[in-house]
């Protein structure tokens, strides 16, 4: 097996290179015109064509990430209120979190249109899995503030009201479940979840 060039390991405080030779990436910081390492791990130098190479330090086990403003997060609804829904943030992007963070989806952030006519009870239920975007880190009184007022965001997995074992799943623009006499349908982007009793659907429209 061909041996790759020996890995260079670095420790925090180690001077890696000049700011003119490379630009700092993750796991590094700059001081007095030099790039220093801030993690203990392997040095990775990626060279883009034409631009300065990016120097970063990576570890085998990724350390805890925090949800940042503008990131898409996956969360689970823990409780609902007439004004907001409280959620536990489980994934940041595609990285699972070791400890969940708490977030809030306010009534006016559920969808982009007809914000005042939103009813939280009809949009979320405890236990729903929601894709949301972080709009604020919060202040002294609140947790992370999230929004679902975009096309790709909203409830993606939920349990139906009738049976505990039936899962609703997303289709092209709404969720369908055929359960004999009742069909539950909702539109994630609109944040509305409603039931249409009396209809049967053999195959859900995809």
């Amino acid at each position: 097996m061909a041996m790759a060039p020996p890995m260079r390991y670095c420790v925090p405080g180690e001077r890696l290179c000049n700011l003119e030779e490379a630009s700092p990436g993750s796991g590094t910081y700059t001081r007095h015109g030099y790039i220093f390492s801030s993690l203990s791990g392997c040095l990775v130098k990626t060279s883009d064509n034409g631009e300065l190479p990016v120097v970063s330090v990576t570890r085998e086990t990724e350390s805890q990430m925090l949800p940042d403003v503008g990131t898409i997060v996956t969360c689970k609804v823990s409780s609902i209120n007439s004004r907001f829904a409280k959620v536990h943030i489980l994934y940041v992007g595609s990285t699972p979190l070791k400890n969940s963070f708490r977030g809030t989806i306010r009534k006016e952030d559920v969808r982009a249109t007809e914000k005042d006519k939103v009813e939280i009870y009809k949009s979320f239920r405890p236990g729903d899995i929601v894709l949301a975007k972080v709009i604020s880190l919060g202040d002294a009184q609140s947790n992370y503030l999230l929004t679902t007022a975009e096309n790709e965001l909203g409830v993606v997995v939920a349990h139906s009201e009738s049976g505990g074992s039936s899962l609703l799943y997303p289709t092209k623009n709404c969720l369908f479940l055929s359960l004999g006499a009742e069909v539950f349908r909702w539109y994630p982007s609109a944040g509305v979840r409603c039931s249409v009793p009396g209809h049967t659907l053999k195959n859900s429209a995809k």
Partner: protein, 245 residues
Amino acid sequence: MAGLELLSDQGYRVDGRRAGELRKIQARMGVFAQADGSAYIEQGNTKALAVVYGPHEMRGSRSRALPDRALVNCQYSMATFSTGERKRRPHGDRKACEMGLQLRQTFEAAILTQLYPRSQIDIYVQVLQADGGNYAACVNAATLAVLDAGIPMRDFVCACSAGFVDGTALADLSHVEEAAGGPQVALALLPASGQLALLEMDARLHEDHLQQVLEAASQAARDVHALLDRVVRQHVREAALLLGD
């Protein structure tokens, strides 16, 4: 104790070390799997264990969260069996609070807290056997634990204690030398830049001797850094080997 000389005429201390010599240091990282980061250090007979959790959401009152950086929360405790006599120490007693505050001051200088706004990093240190240089062993163990957790730091934080006897500065005091009652300095250093994270002394020392004591403590801290550097590199290499192939 009459007749106990801390520094003999030939320049040997009570345990046979020279004035600037450190005690034997052994350290291990990644001692516990369930914590985010952990480390264990033995400095002579002083044994300390450090565990780091974080960064995670603020526990307790959210109003204490800082809007632009992470809050570093340090807790120091000594095991009941750590000293010569078994002594039960209540959890919030003054000495432990003061140590916790000093550790917090030390690590807020080193950890890049701006990367984690509105979150909390917990550092818990426990002294299992106290034979002098408790603060230094705690800082060294906590540095390794923070590195193990992958929290970015400006530099290592290396600490050592120093004293002054018979015109000579002694580095890395043991319990016998501390109990003798001379001046003791605890110093925490960021080796790459040479900046001091913490300098503490509560005794009387003549101004003329201060420079000598500080230099002894700084040199000892740099020696500790060389050792911790080796431990960290070894650990990273082993971890890469385990996962790489």
